[in-house]
Amino acid sequence: MEQNAETRRMLPDSEAQPKRKEDRPLKVVPPKKQKSKHRVVRGLIYASLVILAIICFIPFLMMIINATRTNGEVISGFTLIPGNALLDNYATLSEYINIWTGFKNSLIISVSVTVLSGYFSALTAYGFTFYNFKGKNAMFIFMLVMMMVPAQLGLIGFYEISKTLGILDTFIPLIVPAIATPFTVFFIRQYTQATLHISLIEAARIDGASELRIFHTIALPMMMPAIATMSIFTFIGSWNNYLMPLVLLFSPEKYTLPVLMGFLKGSQVAENLGALYLGIAISVVPIMIAFLFLSKYIVSSISAGAVKE
């Protein structure tokens, strides 16, 4: 009780100075000592945070350094000094696989998926937001329910229908399904409801614009922030997807980067650790560089995705 009263009295200037540990009577501890103890605690916390950041980063550092060393050097031990076998490793790697083809394939698929998913989800979300047609709510609820179903549930059926349509071993079954991304539709619809008012659309109608034109010139630009947020996840998800391309692609020249990495493991490249590290490094470093520039945006997108639920 007494302590409560004391804290209460302290409150007005508690914002100006660092807050004290409240379970200790304030008068007894001289402020100076408190401050230095505070500094030690902060120092320790910073130190552990830096160590954690290093742990997050060190496997990549090992990878990059080992990519420049010969097989013998990699086996003999780890150092932080780069070797000079980078070009030899690259030659060894290129003998067995063409990693840039994998890169190109991954890029084609991921970019197409992101564009299709963004555009058609916005289109669908717009349809669900601004028109009152029969069965609208039922369809929306059905879509939400299906959103809960994991992709693996339909995997075998998906493979079979691709076989029937004759699109196995092509990019089509990896790209076209992106037109229907329920979660993105849901997210963009929530955003649109909150930001885009119907009066804006009605005004455009009075001006004589067609429905599709209104969507393209008025709604789409305003939906852009939500589309961009979801696009980051769509792109990363597609870029990292392993199971689908593994099941659907057979020709090595069509492999995406993740499948190629899996393929690398069983190949003869795996006998030369330096070359293997280099292969992994080539698949990883571009993403790391992209992240360097986009990290702030990605972080805020993750937060938005979770909090706006």
């Binding site: 379970d23 058609f120 809960m148 079979e160 979770a306 639920e309």
Partner: protein, 300 residues
């Protein structure tokens, strides 16, 4: 206006054509296959519930279930513990830690990397003889003999759990942090005035207010965790070695379907997995809900 509403169908038509073809139809086709002995060539026979009765007594599937739960559970506990601790530190009004953006980016970095690259990378880092991890640990003096991490079931599962933690704690941290910064500081100041210490503030203020966010993380992590596949597949031989300890449910599904051509049985595995996911999600929801009612009662 009524006439215009018909345009709604036009706008949602592409979505539904693709959705029905590539999402809904496959789900029902898989359901049909789960009642047949389909092996990839036409002429399958209906076998009733035979695949499902086999599933219930299939020791490999049951083992795969427990493996998946063990690997996910250890990872989730560690990941959430770290995410909460970090969020607590960064939101502490007295500590006033700086560099949130810097640390957050570093912590998130592992999540961005293609999982097959991660599996390959750790596969060689954890290598018994030539792996850098053993070399570093021996250099520091923590171990005297190299440990064959991926040869013993316990260390192999633990390795996968830790790699998953490494990959995902930054992601959870970002979400928890977003939730914590969404809490009005009024609550903390009020608790502070009432003489609450750090632990009380955490358990009585932060945690209850974070419940929706924690539920979100738990459900998404659980659904993702039950589908664990690429890391266990690529880090050892692809069929769950050592001793089947890395055999997860989706890996089992994949091998049954695309390695052994047991499409019928694999379809039943898929539905088994789906049921398990539903049951677990329901338990999580219910558990969260019951806690909420209990605290409300206590408060009243």
């Amino acid at each position: 206006m009524k006439k215009l509403d018909r345009y709604g169908y036009l706008f949602i038509a592409p979505f539904w054509v693709v959705f029905l073809t590539f999402s809904i139809y496959p789900v029902f086709l898989t359901l049909y296959y789960s009642f047949t002995n389909y092996t990839g060539s036409p002429g399958e026979e209906i076998v009733g519930f035979a695949n499902y009765t086999r599933l219930l007594t299939d020791t490999y599937f049951i083992e795969a279930f427990f493996n998946t739960i063990k690997i996910w559970g250890v990872n989730f506990a560690l990941q959430m513990g770290m995410a909460l601790l970090l969020a607590l530190l960064f939101s502490d009004l007295r500590l006033k830690l700086k560099g949130l953006n810097f640390f957050r980016s570093f912590f998130y970095l592992p999540n961005l990397i293609t999982i097959s690259s991660v599996a390959l990378l750790f596969g060689i880092l954890l290598d018994w003889q030539h792996g850098s991890l053993n070399m570093v640990l021996m250099k520091i003096g923590l171990i005297s003999n190299p440990i064959d991490w991926l040869a013993e079931p316990v260390t192999a599962q633990l390795s996968v759990s830790l790699i998953l933690t490494w990959m995902w704690f930054g992601h959870s941290f970002i979400i928890v942090m977003a939730g914590v910064s969404g809490i009005s500081t009024d609550y903390f100041e009020a608790a502070h005035i009432d003489g609450a210490n750090r632990w009380q503030m955490f358990t009585k203020v932060t945690l209850p207010l974070l419940k929706p966010i924690l539920l979100y993380i738990m459900i998404t992590s659980l659904i993702g965790g039950l589908q664990l596949f690429d890391l266990p597949m690529l880090i050892t031989d692809g069929i769950g070695s050592p001793d089947g300890s890395l055999n997860t449910m989706v890996l089992y599904l994949y091998n049954q379907a695309f390695k052994y051509n047991n499409y019928g049985y694999a379809s039943a595995v898929a539905y088994g997995l789906f049921l398990i996911t539903l049951i677990f999600s329901a338990i999580v929801f219910k558990g969260m809900f019951r806690n909420e009612r209990a605290t409300q009662k206590k408060g009243a």
